[in-house]
């Protein structure tokens, strides 16, 4: 009796040890690569798909992706983690955080990492607007991943009902159309204000209309850049948006409601939002939806819009085998096939010429014309200092201030000029603080 009892205990123990041994072995086999990303919903599902595809494609590394909130939240989480040495190996960081990440001292430049790990990536193959932003002095600091730009989404049924075939090219023309949509009672909400409107309706507005956002070529020329958008046609743009809001033509979604869902549900007839909304629109919109390039001011020759979205950064302070895994993952992501799949699944623009050419060749854009709108808009005209992009230190911070000041305009607390002056002044304080902390880097 006692001996059988002992036997069964022993066998149990043995089984336990075996199990634990097996678990230990499989964990040791694969090196875990932590990746913090910042896109959710349908896009987040696609990210998880990408990760599981990579994990299946090889047996040395296991990428573990964690959603850490929106871009700002992810960045904040990264900063907090870095200070206590708990950082991930890969971070997805938005274009807005580019300077901050570049000079953070916390990253390994992408080209350095790839060269060291023995991968060859043809950096010259990245499409021009993407390369123009992410490549500094001929070297890419991060791997361009999800690149987007804001485009004008519209409800073709609603526009038709009001007698328009397509949205107008200019803001002036679009204004007439939106007011007509409201007056003809086609819809109560002609347009929804996107949550990141500072990106589309102010920064990209500046680029398209060739207006400087800051001095020194929007920060490309040095840390001593200053904001100047309170002295450009942005003032008129903000006044126009305020008028639209007051007249009920432009609606603020508010907390708890994603602005894009006002469009996909058919509540609002248009929205200027990222081309990456394709994944949500294609899945949810039950009307005849379409997209067009963003409008420009009357009498202005429109320039290219700027690149948005995010890049993947390799973070310092990880053991060699993890860095090798990061490089392997970067290499995987940069493959034309993967690029093409990612672009098709999400609506982000293909970031390499190879992927773009491939999609074009197979006639993808003929079947999906709205997928090419962003590319067309990104390559419109010859880029100038005003349209190349934005490189400001701590741009998250100055953006938050700009948003707050814009809310003061919407609430009527401040006039557009007053709010923009204050926003520029407060933003410049941040730039000076950043310059002071990063002098000589």
């Amino acid at each position: 009796m006692a001996s059988t009892y002992m036997k069964s205990v022993a066998s149990l123990l043995a089984a336990g040890a075996l199990l634990m041994g097996a678990a230990g072995a499989s964990a040791a086999e694969r090196v875990k690569i932590e990746w913090w990303y910042a896109i959710s919903g349908k896009l987040g599902e696609t990210v998880q798909q990408l990760i599981s595809d990579f994990n299946k494609s090889q047996d040395k590394y296991e990428v573990v992706g964690t959603f850490k909130g929106n871009y700002e939240e992810t960045m904040a989480a990264m900063v907090a983690a870095y200070r206590v040495n708990q950082q991930p190996a890969i971070l997805q960081s938005a274009e807005r955080g580019f300077m901050t990440m570049l000079k953070s001292g916390a990253i390994i430049p992408a080209d350095e990492l790839m060269a060291k790990q023995g991968y060859k990536i043809d950096w010259s193959d990245f499409v021009k607007p993407v390369a123009g932003f992410y490549i500094v002095n001929g070297k890419p600091a991060a791997l361009p991943f999800n690149s987007s730009t804001p485009i004008l989404w519209y409800n073709a049924d609603a526009f038709k009902a009001a007698g328009f075939d397509a949205p107008a090219d200019t803001w002036q023309g679009l204004e007439k159309q939106l007011y007509a949509l409201k007056e003809k009672k086609v819809t109560d909400c002609p347009m929804a204000l996107p949550g990141d409107f500072q990106w589309s309706l102010i920064e990209n507005y500046s680029a398209i209309n060739d207006q400087p956002f800051g001095t020194k070529a929007n920060g490309y020329g040095g840390l001593d850049t200053e904001f100047v958008y309170n002295r450009t046609s942005v003032v008129g743009q903000v006044a126009r948006l305020k008028k639209w809001i007051d007249d009920g033509v432009l609606k603020i979604a508010g907390q708890g409601v994603a602005p894009i869902s006002l469009y996909t549900s058919g509540t609002c007839a248009s929205i200027i939002n990222s081309t990456a909304s394709h994944s949500a629109v294609e899945a949810d919109a039950k009307f005849k939806w379409s997209a067009a390039v963003m409008p420009h001011e009357e009498g202005v020759q429109p320039k290219n819009s700027t690149i948005g979205g995010a890049a993947l950064w390799a973070i310092k302070g990880k053991p060699e085998e993890v860095q090798a895994g990061v490089a392997a993952f970067f290499n995987y992501v940069a493959q034309p096939d993967v690029q093409e799949w990612w672009s098709k699944a999400t609506g982000y623009v293909p970031v390499t010429n190879a992927a773009y050419a491939k999609m074009k060749l197979e006639g993808y854009f003929k079947d999906h014309p709205t997928r090419e709108v962003a590319i067309e808009q990104l390559s419109r005209g010859e880029p100038t200092d005003n349209s190349r992009g934005f490189r400001f230190g701590n741009h998250n911070q100055s953006t938050a201030i700009l948003l707050e000041e814009m809310q003061a305009v919407w609430t009527g607390k401040k006039a557009p000029q007053e709010a923009l002056d204050s926003s520029v002044k407060r933003g410049n304080e941040i730039l000076r603080q950043y310059e002071k902390l990063h002098a000589g880097k």
Partner: protein, 329 residues
């Protein structure tokens, strides 16, 4: 802070419990040595051991964070910690001269005060009515206590959705009634929404304490009042309320603490401190500036200011408790 009054409430229970406990600890506790208080520890390690959990909690949740905040409040630092420049009191002078900070301070004072007294008033009404409710008293109490079981984030999402001007059903009713409700564009609407949500969430807390306090009023006193011809309202105002004064005072302090520090979740979900900072209370601003904008120096300076306020409240409460706003029978 609440410990002192909680202790007073449960004093009877403690006396009953203490006896068997003392039997077991008899060998460790000495009451025979002269010149010492009734009980003391002969072996210091036992005292240290018993104190340790509390001291550890204090260390990790108070002293270390305080040290961190203090060490960051006097520097400007790049978020990644690569560069740090000592700036003396710069963070504080910038803070106090910033109109945004002053606005936030005024807002916080206003919000906290209104929230405190409205919560107390509503809870008082409900507690008074508890005695008058004859049928379904359990249901009545249950309904009032329900909000306490809902996480702030979830209740925040509900409030935000119900009153969303574009899709919210209650906002549409307001709209039909002719009130152009829009918390995204009208700071007063946003503040109202946050205040109502905060009060709704906290009424039940005050209610529990008040019902208990009103029950503790001896029936004989109330009956005496009734015999002398005082109606229920008069009895409530002149007998029950004064006798519940210690509880009410305790609740005032607790409501202030709640309004100052614990409405974070509701604000974060309903308004994000907007529009244009109109619901950006001091605590929310610490989070906004530190964790979203990564301005760690300013955020640390703000939390030092908040700590000073918290200390002030604690002192106030201890003093008031010592004075005993009290009518013991």
């Amino acid at each position: 802070m609440p410990a002192s009054s909680a202790m007073r409430l449960s004093e009877g229970a403690a006396t009953r419990l203490r006896f068997p406990l003392r039997l077991k600890l008899g060998s460790l506790l000495s009451s025979s040595e002269t010149g010492l208080k009734a009980s003391h520890f002969r072996r210091p390690w036992l005292a240290a051991g018993l104190l340790a959990p509390q001291l550890l909690i204090l260390l990790f949740f108070f002293f270390i964070p305080t040290w961190k905040a203090l060490s960051l409040a006097f520097v400007q630092v790049d978020p990644f910690g690569a560069t740090m420049i000592f700036v003396g009191l710069d963070n504080f002078t910038t803070l106090f001269s910033s109109p945004e900070y002053r606005d936030s301070a005024v807002l916080t004072l206003w919000f906290t005060t209104v929230q405190c007294f409205v919560t107390l008033f509503v809870a008082c009404l409900f507690a008074f009515a508890t005695d008058q409710v004859m049928r379904g008293r359990a249901i009545y109490k249950g309904v009032i206590l329900l909000p306490y079981a809902i996480a702030p984030a979830i209740s925040g999402v509900l409030w935000a959705f119900l009153f969303n001007p574009t899709v919210g059903p209650l906002a549409q009713i307001l709209d039909e009634l002719g009130y152009a409700w829009d918390p995204n564009r009208r700071p007063s609407d946003a503040l109202l929404l946050v205040s109502v949500a905060a009060i709704w969430k906290h009424v039940c807390y005050d209610y529990i304490f008040l019902v208990a306090a009103f029950l503790a009023v001896p029936a004989s006193v109330i009956e005496a009042g009734a015999i002398d011809g005082a109606g229920p309202v008069r009895r409530f105002l002149t007998i029950t309320l004064p006798m519940a004064a210690p509880t009410i005072f305790f609740l005032i302090v607790m409501n202030f603490v709640y309004g100052l520090f614990e409405t974070f979740g509701i604000i974060d979900v309903i308004t994000h401190g907007g529009p244009a900072g109109s619901t950006n209370t001091l605590v929310y601003k610490v989070y906004q500036d530190g964790f979203r904008q990564l301005d760690l120096g300013s955020s640390a300076a703000q939390s030092v200011v908040l700590m000073a306020i918290a200390v002030l409240f604690t002192v106030l409460q201890f003093r008031a408790v010592e004075r005993k706003v009290n009518y013991q029978v």
